[in-house]
């Protein structure tokens, strides 16, 4: 059979999981947030945890995560995200006395990678999870606050944004900066003396972006199989930097897809907010 036409069938989420797992290195420490409901849970928790487990099972056996206030929770059997006691009894290597110790580890630069989702992302990777609307007036839409996302972008070496592509989410300029990306109003990470380099990647359901440009503006790194550059642009309210050749996001191998389906998430717990749509 011609290799070129032997295409692995996979879901968009499986493609995202494999792409993120490829970025995780052996011995690194990653921060996974708590996530909220439905699709936000899949983006913020499900896909990152599956990617972490995939990395552990393939090229990065000593990749660790911090989830909630659990350091290196067992990912052998991922608990169903239902009631509180499931989390309480989730086995882990450590659960420090309070969450202040965890946030100390973040601000002291002990984390390598983190995963972020947000209702608003802009050209420079600024994120907004706080409020939508004009400054100096009550917000049109109040969101949740800040959590530790601010720290992630300020201090972690390679924050990875995981968010669905849409014109409402990908805006020229976020209404409120919860977490600073590469620049805002003439201030940069250098002038502020922020230790972390800022967001590294933005993995979406249609394409992957990076910030490998002189001013830290978003650049289209690859488009997922079957997605055109035009479609990507139609789902954004600003135009990212686009090189003359835009490669396709690599498809996961059949073996990788089998590991995700059979070993990592056999009950579909991590993908509760997924459409489970299969790519051609």
């Amino acid at each position: 059979m011609d290799v070129a036409i032997k295409v692995t069938a996979c879901t968009t989420e499986e493609l995202m999981i494999a792409a993120i797992a490829a970025e995780l290195k052996d011995g690194e420490l990653g921060f996974v947030g708590l996530g909220t409901a439905a699709r936000a849970y899949t983006l913020a928790v499900g896909i990152p945890i599956a990617a972490a487990r995939l990395a552990q099972m393939t090229h990065a056996p000593a990749f660790s995560i911090y989830w909630g206030n659990l350091l290196t929770p067992s990912l052998d059997g991922i608990p169903e995200a239902t009631l509180q006691d499931t989390y309480t009894r989730w086995q882990a290597a450590a659960s420090p006395v309070d969450v202040g110790y965890k946030i100390d580890m973040v601000t002291a630069g002990r984390f390598d990678v983190s995963f972020e989702s947000a209702p608003q992302v802009d050209r420079y990777g600024n994120l907004n999870i706080t409020e939508i609307g004009e400054p100096d007036a009550p917000p049109k839409v109040r969101l949740v606050g800040c959590l530790a996302q601010t720290e992630h972008l300020a201090f972690i070496r390679r924050p990875i944004i995981v968010t669905d592509l849409s014109p409402r989410a990908f805006v020229e300029r976020v209404d409120f900066v919860t977490s600073l990306g590469h620049a805002r109003d003439g201030e940069t990470r250098d002038t502020l003396g922020l230790p972390g380099p800022g967001p590294e990647l933005c993995v979406t359901d249609k394409a992957i972006f990076d910030f490998a440009t002189p001013d830290g503006a978003m650049r289209l790194r690859s488009v997922h199989p079957g997605v055109s550059v035009e479609e990507v642009l139609s789902l954004m309210s600003f135009a990212p930097v686009i090189d003359s050749e835009v490669p396709e996001t690599p498809r996961p191998s059949a073996e990788t897809v089998a590991i995700i389906r059979n070993d990592i998430d056999p009950h579909g717990v991590l993908m509760t907010g997924s459409a489970r749509e299969r790519m051609a």
Binding site: S95, C146, T150, E151, L192
Partner: protein
């Protein structure tokens, strides 16, 4: 040591309108609902809240029109969505918000616990939070590096309300060995001026004295201890019982429909106390189904 056992009604009667109140718990765990329901019953107004990741406590106080200001890291309902009453009140300008990231809120509580006016922090440099709260976030220059840092004002609560696990009558509060630690209740206790703690059970002092390293809130910090089994209901107390999802959804359904005031009139205000609240829910016969399987305390 002397007994500090009091009722929730007594504790709340000491909290005046306009007070700044630190509220413990995190997400759907250990929201200090016994005190919150009592604040609603006693019709408290103009409170300024200091919270970690808050859910029902803040949404219920918002529904009761008891809040003028909120400082915290998160207000929502975790996997159940957003906090409808809080959200509406923020959007119509009734509640003023002051947002802080996790290390910033930790710095504010630690500063107060250390007796300092502020602690320096870099996380919020260049963010919207830096300019949103000029009375508590000021950019200064680090005397060692010459780089900018933010001086974050100490979190100074007049009163602090927490829901804990087990305590003796003197106010030594212990956590179980298997528990959740994704909150800052201990930090809130260390930074408190007047602290009230409700607990699931009161145990003999000898029980506490056997394992003093489990005492996360010592009696010297506590003004009043309230015995309140299932006191976090409908949120969970780790090691004791899970959250009551149906009750949370019932609250949210009324909240989304703008009927929370009526809900409070029917389900909180007419009830004399926590005992009456539990009885209305059907008592132990109905509530035992939320118990976790492995409990350290009987």
């Amino acid at each position: 040591m002397k007994s500090k056992l009091i009722t929730a009604a007594e504790a709340v009667s000491r909290i005046p309108d306009g007070a700044t109140l630190a509220v413990g718990g995190s997400l759907l765990r250990r929201q200090p609902m016994v005190f919150v329901r009592e604040l609603v019953r006693q019709n408290r107004r103009d409170l300024a809240l200091l919270t970690w990741a808050t859910t029902l406590a803040t949404d219920m106080l918002a529904a009761a029109c008891a809040v003028r200001r909120w400082d915290g890291i998160y207000a929502g309902f975790f996997r159940l969505g957003l906090a409808p009453n809080f959200r509406r009140a923020v959007q119509d300008g009734t509640i003023e918000t002051h947002d802080y990231s996790e290390s910033a809120m930790v710095a504010r509580f630690r500063a107060r616990a250390m007796g300092l006016e502020f602690l320096p922090n870099r996380a919020m440099l260049g963010t919207g939070m830096e300019t949103k709260s000029p009375d508590a976030v000021k950019r200064i220059t680090c005397p060692y590096t010459g780089k900018p840092v933010l001086a974050l004002r100490a979190a100074d609560a007049d009163f602090t309300i927490l829901h804990g696990y087990a305590a003796d009558e003197y106010g030594n509060v212990q956590w179980p060995i298997v528990r959740d630690s994704d909150d800052i209740d201990q930090m809130m206790a260390s930074s408190s001026r007047r602290l009230f703690v409700s607990v699931e059970c009161i145990v003999p002092h000898e029980e506490i004295a056997r394992r003093p390293a489990l005492t996360y809130i010592p009696h010297t910090l506590v003004e009043g201890i309230v015995h309140a089994p299932r006191g976090a209901h409908p949120t969970a107390t780790d090691g004791f019982y899970d959250e009551d999802e149906d009750a949370l959804e019932d609250w949210l359904e009324a909240a989304r429909a703008g009927r929370s005031a009526e809900w409070l009139d029917a389900n909180v205000r007419p009830l004399a106390d926590h005992e009456a609240y539990l009885a209305k829910l059907g008592g132990e016969a109905a509530l035992a189904r939320f118990d976790v399987t492995e409990r350290e305390y009987a």
